[in-house]
């Protein structure tokens, strides 16, 4: 069977751990040092979903902050995305809602996994929250992750990959 290529975007507020999740997934490394992303860094990883070989082209896009929003051109042709929240910071939930709506407006309904990152800091997480429940209801999966302790990272990408193979795509559209 031929290999399918799928563009997947990492989306979220600044410093939620988008780059760290990709580095953990692709290179099995983690750094405590915060190096903010400019523009986009492209990576690739092969996965299998059922019988199907997939090549995930990962777009680690710069984060949202009060000075800059993610522009739709970066998301052109995406098949799905990972929406990353840092539940130790409530504002990152609002950013995620905004990004989710931006995708819907420009590209329609695309499958996404909601990643609640920094699960190693769970004692500092905010509690139940309306915007968070809204995202949890729209996502194909909600996964607690830690790039630091390597928790849930493979699971997060596997869940999205499974939604990107053709038989499942039909159901979603």
């Amino acid at each position: 069977m031929s290999i399918l290529q799928r563009k997947v975007c990492m989306l979220g507020s600044y410093a939620v751990g988008k780059t760290s999740l990709v580095r953990r997934y692709v290179d099995s490394i983690f750094s405590e040092t915060y190096t903010t992303t400019i523009g986009v860094k492209i990576d690739k990883k092969m996965v299998t979903a059922g019988e199907q070989q997939l090549s995930l082209v990962l777009w680690d896009v710069y984060g949202e902050d009060s000075h800059q929003s993610v522009v739709p051109a970066y998301l052109r042709g995406l098949s799905g995305y990972i929406l990353v929240v840092d539940p130790t910071r409530e504002t990152t939930v609002q950013s995620a809602v905004k990004l989710h709506q931006m995708v819907e407006t420009n590209f329609g309904n695309k499958p996404f996994v909601l990643a609640l990152n920094k699960s190693d800091l769970k004692d500092q997480w905010i509690g139940e929250q309306r915007d968070l429940s809204y995202l949890e209801d729209s996502a194909i999966a909600r996964i607690e992750t830690s790039a630091k302790t390597d928790t849930g990272v493979d699971e997060m990408f596997d869940n999205l990959a499974a939604a990107l193979v053709p038989s499942n795509e039909v159901v979603l559209e």
Binding site: Q5, R6, K7, Y14, A15, Y34, T35, T36, I38, G39, V40, K41, I42, K44, S55, V57, Y62, G63, D65, S66, H67, A73, Y74, R76, G77, L78, S79, R89, T91
Partner: protein, 135 residues
Amino acid sequence: MSLVATPITIARYLRKLGADTRALAYLELDQSLHVIASGGNLEILGTTTINSNKSITSQVDILVGLIPTGTAPVIIANAQMVKDRFFDLHLFKELERQWVLLLDSTESARNLQADQQVRLNNALLLEQEQKSEKK
């Protein structure tokens, strides 16, 4: 990229943009997205050899989902495939040909990175202060 060997379409586009000196590489693709012509430094795309018998999207990851475009340019600023080498990607169609143009943006991206790092480190600190005040 030597401007002597630059196709007229690219030369015209660069002149309009006023970005001649930043030109790094280009690809000219047919309707099935196979390479007809290319020039400049393609290593920045993470590949050295391009096979014109295979679709470009199976060889250059960043192009997956992006092409084909319409005649209006699609621009991706500050893309990075090889660590710390930044480029602006310009994609447009002209006369049934898909054009891919890469402009060097490494220097401006480096400055942008330094500014953004300071700004976001400060923003994070402020968030932390506000959080501990609330408690």
